[in-house]
Amino acid sequence: MAVSLDLLINAIVAGVLLGGFYAAVSVGITISFGMLDIANIAQPAFILLGSYAAYMFNSSLGLDPILVGIVMLPVFYVIGMAVYRLYYYSFELRGEQAIQGLAFFFGLLFVAEVSLVLIFGVDYRFVEAPYTEGSLHLGTLNLPLRMLIPFVFSLIMIALLQLYLTRSFIGRAILAVSQDGLALQLMAASPIRIKQIAFGISVATCSLAGTFLIIIQPIEPSIGRDYIGRIFAICVLGGMTSFPGMVVAAMLIGIVESITATFYGPSWAPAVAFGFLLVTLAVRPAGLAGR
């Protein structure tokens, strides 16, 4: 098969853009699972909620979807805090086995998907904005705007989060909790409050991530499941707690998926992330084995 260089380069570039978006989708899991050790497998459900929120306000009021995503940030933040409270009182406090916590999040994921089916049906939904059509042409490079804009905003969001975590008091408390909850207790700061804020932030990111998703592609309720393998693979590959590592991992997966889709067809893309996940788990970077 003659590989057109142009095609390959564009596939790689598309993969980079996709990777930026994947990083935005994964940053929430990096916080909740990488830093707080809460396996929130319902994360894709929150992302889809963000997508559908953008759809609703865009289709009925014509609002710009990214604007909706930003406006909805506090709403998702509150939802995240509420979910963490429920999780904490039901499971962490009781010292229940991890299996119940996982079943809880699975239940959430499932209920969310089915609710979306009931409310919105299984038809594909999309948003309309000036940048969902058209692309930027740089020489032989073809950068679709619907991917470029989310890419840019994703990186901005991650950079802002990184600043917050490393510069603000609460942010640094979150980093401290992720390394040693006991130390934080000794500092007379309440780890529960910190974890609640962190989890709230992790769900808040879904508001924007969901918006980016529906800009990039039309959505329907079941695509959340495709993302579980991806976001955990990215989080693990990226070293669990590092944002820069996560971005690199996301780009890597994005590029491989894009090349696979271009040369073998898009229906193989979901399997790529799982392959990555398996390889990562099999190679077992330090810190994964029985933390």
């Binding site: 497998i41 429920l86 119940q100 079943a103 239940g107 209920v111 089915v114 955990f232 979901p270 799982f274």
Partner: protein
């Protein structure tokens, strides 16, 4: 009750139910519905061997179930395919397909386990979620079994054992139910089951105590996957039109988690109870409410039970018995002191 006696009793109950219902029910609908409930008994019991007994949660029941279904499709098409190479083999009987489905699913369970079980349980759970997506992707891209368009499966003209073909499938599923419950009960009282419980309660302590935790976990995933595959093997003949969207329906994943959780994960009784209860309700409900609403209720019940009654219905009954026994003791002490 010794395990040998248990097998006999279970088999007798199964046989009695089959014979009685065959004579009592003339409407085929009963057998259609009962097949689904029995199928869920097998799926829930299989799930619980890994989930409730060993403490590793599997969200990808759909994958193992579908592997069983699609391996039957392959075997069904095998005679026609081989004929083009001038190799003649007879049509493959369904019980053989069930065994093959079990073997293939078991191998996949072994493989998934081998890659992920040396890590924490949460990684295994995530891998099973991703596995479901991957298997679905593979099937959708495989034209031989119909790909995304699906495939028609013609039932054999005559059903063994007399009666209709659906009655035959119902009987087979009853046999599988008895087998899986028997296996679960045997595990519970065996050294293997004790090892599983130790892993569930404290894997590090189990390993330090001499339990070969990886090996036992692999046994659990293989066995669980194999049973799920066997439950899926007759599906193509049940639905006659098999396509990925409904085969990988999330209903299987959530039901096989919800039924043991709601019934109770600590013994074989819970999954059976959960399957019969939830399965029957869902069969009755799909007539009146949409299947999506149906599943929503199951999902909400799962969340509610996990939060409020994590030991399921069996757990609630046991707790009530213990409270009554403790109250009885307290009253007896009072009387003695008086």
């Amino acid at each position: 009750m010794r395990i040998g006696v248990f097998w006999l009793v279970a088999a007798a109950v199964g046989l009695a139910v089959v014979v009685l219902t065959r004579f009592y029910f003339t409407n085929e609908y009963f057998f259609f519905a009962a097949y689904v409930v029995l199928q869920y008994i097998v799926l829930s019991t299989a799930w619980n061997i890994l989930g409730g007994y060993t403490g590793y949660i599997n969200f990808g029941t759909g994958a193992f179930f579908a592997i069983g279904a699609y391996s039957s499709v392959v075997l069904h098409k095998m005679p026609a395919l081989l004929k083009t190479f001038d190799v003649v083999i007879p049509a493959i009987p369904l019980p053989v397909m069930i065994l093959v489905g079990g073997v293939v699913s078991g191998i996949v369970g072994l493989g998934t386990g081998y890659l992920t079980l040396r890590l924490r349980g949460v990684f295994f759970a995530i891998a099973t979620l991703a596995l479901a997506v991957v298997v679905q992707t593979l099937i959708v891209n495989w034209d031989f079994v119909g790909g995304s368009r699906g495939i028609y499966m013609i039932r054999p003209p005559k059903a063994p054992l007399g009666g209709s073909y659906i009655q035959y499938l119902y009987t087979l599923m009853m046999v599988l139910s008895v087998i899986s419950v028997g296996i679960a009960r045997w595990i519970e009282r065996s050294r293997l089951g004790l090892g599983f419980a130790a892993i569930r309660d404290d894997e590090l302590a189990a390993e330090a105590g001499g339990v070969p935790t990886l090996r036992l976990k692999l046994i659990a995933t293989t066995l669980s996957g194999a049973l799920m595959g066997m439950a899926g093997a007759p599906l193509p003949y049940y639905v006659t039109y098999l396509e990925p969207a409904s085969t990988f329906n999330l209903a299987y994943a959530v039901n096989s988690v919800a039924m043991p959780v709601i019934g109770g994960m600590t013994s074989w009784v819970g999954p059976v109870l959960g399957a019969i209860l939830l399965g029957t309700i869902q069969q009755l409900a799909t007539v009146t409410i949409s299947s999506a609403l149906n599943l929503l209720i199951v999902g909400l019940l799962l969340i509610a039970f996990v939060i409020i009654a994590p030991n399921g219905i069996v757990g609630l009954v046991q707790a009530r018995r213990r409270r009554r026994a403790a109250a009885g003791e307290a009253r007896a002490e009072q009387r003695a002191a008086a």
